[in-house]
Symmetry: C2
Subunit: 246 residues, 2 copies
DNA sequence: CGACTTCTTGAACCGAGTCAAGAAGGGTGG
DNA sequence: CCACCCTTCTTGACTCGGTTCAAGAAGTCG
């Protein structure tokens, strides 16, 4: 773990900088958070061990981070995936029970106490607070999607669903995905996300490739036939309607 | 749907009435909420359709209610289960995207605007507010547990895990489970909770019975060998450590 | 250029799904 | 109170999606 004194990532500004109705103070807060020092983790590094409490929201600046749980026999399930621009511990003071937060790739993470919504004397309000609440709801929606995937979809649908969701999430963080996007993890990690064996992940990806739905090589994915991929996935992007009084 | 003018359920008082540090005002609020009129739903009834927004928290007074999602081919996955004493829409103004809220058994539900935590001018504070936040975190923890179950556990473990979790949840709502507890749903519903086929749910329950882990008859479950059941389940009760500044 | 990790492929196996049909409940009306 | 119907449960036989095991190929890094 090593601290890097740079503030060039801009993930929060890229995510929320263009929100309509953002005040100057809120814009400043985003810049402030984006300028925070970043802690670097290497793949496999523990950001928070099982049972730890996350008191300060952590902004993912780069890389993939996850919440994972180990079972007997060395089985592992990745419960939630954090991508650059995502925030760990939005709900403030969350205990993680038996789950650990682990870096899946080299990752940069910036602690941002300012983003704590549940905090008693709340520094967040207005448009930005609403955005953070929506982000938390979206995250919960992705948990639901994961349950659908694991509970009622077969391997082919599962992978399709995951890829579509991934593309959607990256895009909503301001990333250009028209020429594909990076999939910077091993098939073993994908297996632990998708609840399948490594071998079958491999075979399913090949099937999707042979069917002409995607192009996959060198850690990158490109969607070739979005219509059919979306049909196989039955993916519906999370629609978070905001409460009128929020 | 029919409104019943009775306030004898006391689910909230039973759940939180004994919280240490509860003020008289908070105790009054609980009684007030418990005295609310209850809306009765029959099995299969829709409490909120897919895409609807839940603006007012709904307290489950009796029966089982769930968040479910339908897929093509008539497949269904139950994403979350609400038991008596649980509250729907704690996060305030949640859109449900493609999921619907449905009654699984005859159910009584009471709308309680007072319990809205995220609401802008917050009526909730202090001990009770903290309790509601913890409840929301616990609910999220159950989502995580569901992901573990569906992603990395085989049928036998899945059923064991579900039963232990259920017993734990009922107990934490002040229900006496020493002589077993009710399982008021069909095996088809269990299948949609557990992500398996009806036939296999049936066979797995029988296996658990033959192994002497549980006793199951007439819609009731009794845990006979908690040690072995817990071992099979790898269940760990949600430990929600509260943030010190909350 | 090794040495290690990751990917790929084949073959055998098995957990769980599907299909089908009969048994057991549970409610309703005669 | 019984007969009937419909839902739910149970069981057997077959099928299949996915895992496991194993070994070779392709990357990747020092």
């Amino acid at each position: 773990m090593q601290i890097q004194p740079r503030g060039m990532h801009q993930v929060l500004t890229r995510r929320w900088g263009n929100l309509p109705g953002l005040s100057q103070g809120e814009r400043d807060l985003l810049s402030l958070a984006d300028a925070k020092h970043t802690v670097a983790y290497s793949p496999g590094a523990l950001l928070a061990s099982a049972g730890a409490v996350i008191r300060t929201p952590l902004v993912i600046v780069s890389g993939w981070v996850c919440i994972q749980r180990m079972l007997a026999n060395g089985r592992r399930q990745i419960v939630f995936l954090f991508l650059p621009g995502d925030i760990i511990g939005l709900d403030g003071g969350t205990s993680l029970a038996p789950e650990a937060v682990v870096a899946l790739t080299p990752a940069g993470v910036a602690p941002c106490p300012e983003l704590n919504v549940i905090h008693d004397r709340q520094p967040l309000f207005g448009t930005l607070r609403q955005a953070v609440s929506v982000a938390a709801l979206e995250d919960r929606q992705y948990l639901h999607d994961t349950i659908i995937r694991l509970g009622r979809q077969v391997a082919y649908e599962r992978v399709a669903h995951f890829l579509i969701e991934l593309e959607h999430r990256l895009q909503s963080r301001g990333m250009d995905v028209t020429y594909g996007f990076a999939l910077p993890v091993t098939q073993e990690i994908l297996a632990d996300i998708l609840g399948m064996s490594v071998v079958h992940v491999n075979r399913t990806f090949q099937q999707l490739r042979r069917d002409g739905l995607i192009e996959a090589r060198a850690g990158r994915i490109r969607v070739l036939d979005r219509t059919r991929l979306q049909a196989a996935a039955e993916f519906r992007p999370p629609v978070v309607a905001t409460s009128p009084h929020a």
